[in-house]
Amino acid sequence: MILYTCMPAELVLEGLHSPPKPMIEVTVGELIMLVAPVAPGIGRIVRLVSAPLDAYLRPDLAPGQTIHFAAAGKEAGAAASSSGSTENPGQL
C-alpha cells in the first residue's frame, strides 16, 4: 500500500498494529454485511460484503451507519428457515 496524503504518515497509521475490534457478518435477505458491534443487537456497518447493486445507493446502508442487527438477524433467520437455509446471523 502506498499512501499519498498530505497528512503525516505517523498520524494516519498510529495504532495500525493494535488488534482490530471484533466484527461479525450479518445476513439480511440477500445482503451480507460486516458489522462492528457497539451494543447488544446494535452495530456499525463496516462494509457491505455482498449486496444487490441498488443497496449501495441507500444512505442507511453506508459504512458507519448504525443498524439493529439482532432484529434484522431474526427477520433474516425467519426468511432463511422458510427457504431452507440454516444461517442465523443474530447468533454469530
Partner: protein
C-alpha cells in the same frame, strides 16, 4: 352459509370505495402518525469523498475514511440506475491510497452520465486526480489542493527498484491529471517539486483561483454553481439523446 357471506361483502364495499380516492398528502399523518411526507426523488447522485481514501488496508479508527470497496459499486449502481441522470462529486479529502484513489478517479472518468466535481475545504494528494476526473470541476474560493511527490512508506527491499516503483506510481498520477485537466505536465511537475512552500515536504498548495489559473480546475464556485452546471449538462445530454432518437 349465505348469511355469513353477506356481511363480508357489505364490509368490503366501503373499502373498495375508499381505494378509488386519490392518495392525499395527509394520509401519512393519519395512517402512520408522522408528518414526514414523501420527498420528491432527486435525479442527481451526490458522492462525497472525505477524509482518507481507504484502500486494501483498513486504516486505524482515528481516520475518517472513504472506502473504495463501497464507492466503486456505488458508481456502478449510479451508472446503471435510470433514475440517476447526473453525479455531483463533493471532495474534502486529505489523500490516501494511490491504487484506490486512482481506481475511483478512473471509474468516475469512465461514467457516461454527466458528472461535476466540487472541491470544498481540500482536495489534496490523491484527491487531485479524483477532482479532475469529472467533466467539469469547481473549487471553493478558500479550498486548497496540495500537490506533492508520492512519499515512501513501508519496506525498502532495494533502493533503485523502490525508487523506480515510486516513480512509476507518480507517473500514473501525473499522466491522469494532465490527461483530464488543462494543466501542462511541466506546470504540474513544477508545482509538485517546488521547494520552500510546504513545511514538511516539497510541493505546493494551490488555493481556489490559483488552481483555476494553473488549469487544474475549471472554475471557482460552490454547490449552487456546480448543480446549475450539472443540470445544464443533464439537459444537453437529454436533448442530444432525443435528437439522436429522432434522426437515427
Amino acid at each position: 352459509m349465505s348469511d355469513k357471506g353477506k356481511p363480508e361483502t357489505a364490509a368490503e364495499q366501503p373499502a373498495q370505495g375508499q381505494e378509488e380516492r386519490p392518495p392525499q398528502p395527509t394520509d401519512s399523518l393519519v395512517q402512520l402518525g408522522q408528518t414526514a411526507v414523501p420527498a420528491a426523488e432527486s435525479n442527481v447522485f451526490c458522492l462525497t469523498i472525505i477524509g482518507q481514501v481507504e484502500g486494501h488496508m483498513m486504516l486505524p479508527p482515528q481516520n475518517k475514511t472513504t472506502k473504495y470497496e463501497h464507492v466503486i459499486p456505488q458508481l456502478v449502481a449510479a451508472e446503471q440506475n435510470p433514475k440517476i441522470e447526473g453525479l455531483l462529486i463533493v471532495l474534502n479529502t486529505v489523500g490516501g491510497d494511490v491504487e484506490a484513489g486512482l481506481a475511483i478517479a478512473e471509474m468516475i472518468a469512465s461514467l457516461s452520465k454527466p458528472k461535476v466535481a466540487v472541491v470544498l475545504g481540500g482536495g489534496h494528494s490523491i484527491g487531485v486526480p479524483i477532482a479532475v476526473s469529472a467533466d467539469y470541476t469547481f473549487i471553493a474560493e478558500t479550498a486548497t489542493m496540495t500537490i506533492h511527490p508520492i512519499r515512501l512508506n513501508g519496506m525498502i527491499i532495494g533502493v533503485p527498484q523502490t525508487f523506480e516503483y515510486l516513480e512509476k506510481m507518480q507517473e500514473r498520477v501525473v499522466r491522469f491529471v494532465t490527461k483530464h485537466s488543462r494543466i501542462q505536465e511541466e506546470t504540474f511537475k513544477e508545482l509538485m517539486f517546488r521547494t520552500g512552500e510546504l513545511t514538511r515536504d516539497i510541493g505546493t498548495t494551490v488555493i481556489g483561483s490559483e488552481a483555476v489559473r494553473n488549469g487544474l480546475i475549471d472554475e471557482v464556485g460552490g454547490i449552487g454553481a456546480a448543480l446549475q452546471e450539472l443540470k445544464r449538462r443533464i439537459a444537453d445530454r437529454k436533448a442530444a439523446a432525443s435528437g439522436g432518437g429522432a434522426n437515427p
